[in-house]
């Protein structure tokens, strides 16, 4: 029963991801037809050809990057919502992404390489943010909706201030792109970066898939999950760390992209229901496709150049967050 539904989910979302990728490859400052793009991959085209160059060397890595980032962020949002039993939880809104951004910027200022240096400082930052958010919002109110969101707002404000402080204090040329990065930067990755990020994400993604059934049980409350045989402390810790690690890897590579982890899990939950054994793979696939489409918009909407992809995701996501918040209050 569950496997049949999983198969149905995959057979709808894999084509969605592929079509999104195709759209991402076709559109941009110069447009190509589906046929042209396909021939680049199938015909073994001429590597000197400009079309071949643009599609294989520029757009393909970018599309793959977007798919990885979108999938990871959606999955991250899904896990946070399950762990905190709060449909509004999301790494960006809770300031986990902000924490990794502070870490990443410190890494950049220390002249570390993107990998493993900046990834490591970003991870440290996200763990600090996670510890802070849990410390602030726990206690008597035990992760209630409002205290959690308020803590996130405060943490975000603090992280933004620290980021601005660091940027203002340096006249560093390395930081000239940082404003762009702050809203999500998918530009100019190579296939090497894509491969590194994929490698970094593989571990936590597999781990989260394996624990997706435990997430269902956790939604029934910690006590209930415990009496159903879940080692609640261990699983919670593993989920938090794996997710924060995953989020900090995306931040180290592509900066801050918000609300993806809110939009995708929510839409998918409406269609699929609350079963995480289905939602986890669905988030990975649909989140990837969604991010490719958002990135395509960010590349094609401006007449000159492009806008950060975080602008697109926030314009779509923030109003949805407000709608969710209002309906949750009822």
């Amino acid at each position: 029963m569950m496997l049949k539904r999983l198969l149905a989910v995959i057979s709808v979302l894999v084509p969605f991801l592929l079509i999104s990728a195709m759209i991402g490859l076709c559109f941009g400052p110069s447009r190509y037809g589906f046929g042209e793009v396909l021939s680049v991959f199938t015909g073994g085209g001429n590597s000197e050809d400009i079309v071949y160059s643009i599609i294989r060397r520029i757009r393909l890595p970018r599309v793959m990057m977007a798919a990885l980032i979108g999938g990871a962020l959606s999955l991250g949002g899904l896990v946070f919502q399950a762990l905190l039993r709060n449909p509004l939880a999301e790494p960006y809104i809770l300031g986990i992404s902000g924490g990794s951004a502070v870490g990443a910027i410190i890494g950049i200022l220390m002249n570390l390489s993107r990998f493993p240096g900046v990834c490591f400082t970003a991870f440290t930052g996200s763990m600090a943010a996670l510890a802070a958010i849990l410390a602030i919002s726990s206690g008597r109110s035990m992760l209630t909706k409002d205290s959690l969101l308020l803590s996130g707002v405060m943490l975000n404000a603090f992280c933004s201030a620290v980021i601005m402080f660091l940027i203002s204090m340096t006249q560093d040329s390395r930081l000239h792109n940082i404003m762009f990065w702050l809203m999500g930067d998918l530009s100019a990755p190579g296939l090497r970066e894509v491969a590194i990020l994929a490698g970094l994400l593989a571990g936590p993604v597999v781990l989260l898939f394996l624990m997706s059934h435990k997430m269902n049980l956790l939604l029934m409350g910690k006590e209930m999950a415990g009496t159903l045989g879940v080692n609640v402390k261990l699983i919670t810790l593993a989920l938090f760390v794996a997710t924060s690690y995953m989020i900090s890897a995306t931040v180290a590579f592509c900066g801050l992209i918000g609300f993806v982890g809110l939009v995708m899990p929510h839409l998918l939950r409406l269609v699929i229901g609350p079963d995480h054994r289905l939602l986890a793979p669905a988030c990975l696939l649909a989140g990837g496709g969604y991010m490719i489409l958002c990135d395509t918009l960010s590349r094609t909407l401006p007449k000159h150049g492009e806008m950060p992809v975080g602008v697109v995701t926030a314009i779509i996501g923030a109003p949805l967050f407000i709608i969710l918040l209002k309906s949750a209050r009822k």
């Binding site: 569950m2 049980l217 415990g226």
Partner: protein, 272 residues
């Protein structure tokens, strides 16, 4: 079956359970009663393995709870909580199937046998016809029967229930209690229940435990535990205790103030 030895529990300096020792025999319908704040639920959550034991010990089937792995304990012991969060509404079927998780593999993919057991449990508690409804659309009585079906599909040897009849109307209360009695008899399961309803406890319990302020006031068969001396001491109000017209078990009636100090009544009321 369950051996509790010198169990003591503090919550912020205040002792909630004070040196509790008793045992529950296999096949008992064991009901814990007592006034609010007497430590009933705390005691129950210690048996369920939810609260770690700091002082004293609880043995289940001759082994200390602390020695069990979560998973093996959950194959022996099922817990029905008072309520469950509904931010992420699962269907009735999905909820009941979760009871199979201690018996399922790492990925939690249910086998035909798991589905069959869950279906039987839903039939037994009378929720099969609403199997595809969502939890948050159900009434309190229906939801309670879903949680009981989940616990049943866990195939436990011991079933723990925390006030399963609280906030249900009379028909639903009796239905839940009848279900548990039948389940216990059909499957030779031990049932431990926390209840605030003394009359239900008297009618269904094989043995009762009366708690007050974290101490055992009395333990034994209903007739033995529910007397006006023990009950008035424990609850601190005037009560009329007589025999139920249904059979050989006590019945407790609360007494409004206007009936107190009227000499025409039977001896029980002269205790004020």
């Amino acid at each position: 079956m369950i051996d509790i030895k010198h169990l003591t529990h503090h919550y912020d300096q205040t002792a909630v359970l004070k040196d509790i020792s008793f045992n529950v025999q296999a096949g008992d319908f064991f009901i814990i009663i007592g006034p609010n704040g007497s430590g009933k639920t705390t005691l129950m959550k210690h048996i369920a393995g939810i609260f770690p034991i700091r002082k004293g010990d609880i043995e289940i089937l001759g082994r200390s709870v602390a020695e069990y792995r979560r998973r093996s304990l959950s194959k022996i012991l099922a817990f029905v909580p008072q309520g469950a969060p509904s931010e992420f509404p699962f269907t009735v079927r999905e909820t009941v199937l979760m009871g199979r998780s201690p018996h399922m593999g790492l990925l939690g993919v249910e086998q035909p046998r798991d589905i069959e057991i869950a279906e039987n449990a839903m039939d037994f508690t009378g929720v099969a016809h609403i199997a595809d409804r969502k939890l948050d659309e159900l009434s309190g009585g229906e939801r309670q029967r879903v949680f009981i079906a989940r616990a049943i599909s866990q195939e436990p040897k011991i079933m723990l229930l925390d006030e399963p009849t609280a906030s249900l109307d009379l028909a639903h209360q009796i239905r839940i209690m009848d279900l548990m009695e039948k389940f216990k008899q059909d499957n030779q399961v031990t049932v431990v229940m926390v209840s605030h309803d003394i009359n239900l406890a008297a009618m269904y319990g094989d043995r009762l435990l009366l708690l007050k302020s974290g101490r055992i006031v009395k333990i034994g068969p209903p007739k033995h535990v529910i007397t006006y001396e023990t009950m008035e001491t424990a609850y601190g109000c005037t009560l009329l205790v007589d025999q139920s017209p249904l059979g050989d078990f006590p019945r407790v009636t609360t007494v409004p103030r206007r009936y107190i100090r009227q000499p025409v009544r039977k001896t029980e009321e002269s205790q004020t």
